[in-house]
Amino acid sequence: MYRNRLLLLTLALLACALAYLFTGVKGSLEFALMFRGKKLAALLLIGAAQAVAAVMFQTISGNRILTPAIMGFDALYVLILTAAVVALGAPAYQQLDPGLLMLTNATLMCAAAVMLFGLLLRKGQGDLMRMLLTGVVLAVMLRSITGLLQRVIDPSEYAVVQAASFARFSRAETDLLGVSALLCCGALGLAWRMRHRLDVLALGPVASTSLGEPPLRGQRRALLLISVLVAVSTALVGPVAFFGLLVSALTYLVLPTYRHAILLPGSALISGVILVGGQWALERVFAFTTPLSVVVEFLGGVVFLLLLMKGLKR
């Protein structure tokens, strides 16, 4: 039954992608396809990265309302980026190869995230409330430190950082596509290999220890993958707070199963449909200028509140 749903989702995503590529082409079809193809690829990467990162994080933290974005993962990435600009100076920074920079940033991000969030998951074990608050507060703190650094550097440097601090799906940084695709696909592949372990980790630390799957090791590996995925997505479009939440909530609704063999691809597909379909609708149908991120944030929040209220009534 879930297989059919996955198939349907795949078809829906294909339809959205085709619509996005071929509707409303003015002028050279070839040029339009090139241009749109890159954007489409970026949207798909972001979608898959955000969705899989959110689902994995919810599994290892044992709840369905925390996402990497809420816990401050993307804030951490922006901070690392800002710190790099401050340390190197904007001119030197801009001369470096963007792909190499992204690799370095992603590596730093992994190290920092495993240290910070690994500690958090260990300390907050079984105390979800404390973990949640810590994450939210940490996110504010990281953003504030970034803000402080941005005030300290001069305006020309600020412009470099600013590009990464605001989410714009329509203006994804397509130059980074190659490296991003590499990192993202690698991380997604490893996540797929972890699917059975994730099923067990979802049972909680005690049960997974008892079943021979030490939770700390699994958490650390998942955190590494999540960091890579968030780094890729943030580098491409900037931070998107509630998108992961929206996608994971919808995933559990459409695919009510615990099996990550279904959840991981399912969430990536759903997220692709939302991003590609949404971008297509905004660009071609409504001719809106509003960035999709704002709409997604709004819808994501509303859907979340509705789900919560509905879930509570049951």
């Binding site: 044992g62 699917r195 059975h196 372990r197 099923d199 067990v200 979802a202 049972l203 909680g204 630390p205 005690v206 049960a207 220890t209 008892s210 079943l211 021979g212 799957e213 030490p214 559990y252 009510p256 199963t257 615990y258």
Partner: protein, 250 residues
């Protein structure tokens, strides 16, 4: 045989266990009893590697807890924790099925499936097989978790206060089943119990703990005396002997 040597444990500087050495041979039901805060759950959790060991050494047969591979330990020893909560979307069959994970690592064989069905039959879970956990009563959920631990097919079964959410009938049924596992399936059961009367009724051996130390160890009729109740639990409940075993009058 589980061997605990010179085990001490602190939590935030407060000593929870102090230099405990004890050996639990293979087979039989061993009950851990003692007042609140005696360190029973900590001892059990350390045996099951749920919390990292600080001082001392624990071995399960030839495996050293904390050093041996987790997959090997998971086939030797299973634990049922005090509070069980898990992703509620699981059905009973899913949950019990996870008991076989240490063997198949995500790819169940027909044998694994057969064992799961067997475990569900043994614990009367077949009628509930497709129900999701959050629709079950506390007792039913507890039974599903016990079945999962059973299906894990380990020589050693550790249970931390499994009677907490159960009524009298369910408690007796669970204890009888554990007794049966020990007598007929050659399993070793170590169980933390609050109610001493359950311990004297079903256990072959009781380990009495107080303030992080082991203060008595032996067969229930030898160990549980009025003096022990007074010194360990600090209450003067009279003790009667009924049909050859001690019963605490509450």
């Amino acid at each position: 045989m589980i061997e605990v040597q010179n085990l001490s444990h602190d939590i935030h500087g407060a000593p929870i266990l102090r230099d405990i050495s004890v050996t639990v041979p293979k087979g039989g039901v061993t009950a851990l009893v003692g007042p609140n805060g005696a360190g029973k759950s900590t001892l059990l959790s350390l045996m099951a590697r749920l919390i990292p060991r600080q001082q001392g050494r624990i071995t399960v047969d030839e495996l050293v807890v904390g050093e041996s591979d987790d997959k090997d330990l998971a086939r030797r020893l299973a634990i049922l924790p005090q509070t069980v909560h898990a992703a509620s979307r699981l059905t009973v069959r899913d949950l019990v099925g996870f008991g076989r994970y240490p063997y198949h690592r995500g790819r169940p064989t027909p044998d694994d499936r057969a064992m799961v069905e067997d475990g569900m039959r043994l614990f009367d879970l077949l009628p509930l097989a497709e129900r999701s956990l959050d629709t079950l009563s506390g007792g039913q959920r507890q039974r599903a978790f016990v079945a999962m631990t059973y299906v894990q097919d380990t020589d050693y079964l550790l249970l931390d206060e499994p009677l907490n959410n159960l009524d009298l009938a369910a408690s007796r049924a669970l204890m009888a089943r554990l007794r049966d596992l020990a007598d007929n399936k050659d399993r070793t059961v170590i169980i933390v119990l609050h109610d001493i009367n359950f311990a004297t009724a079903y256990a072959d051996r009781v380990l009495v703990m107080k303030e992080g130390r082991l203060c008595a160890d032996g067969a229930p009729q030898d160990v549980i005396t009025e003096t022990l109740i007074q010194s360990v639990f600090e209450t003067d409940a009279p003790l009667r002997t009924v049909e050859g075993r001690p019963v605490v009058m509450v």
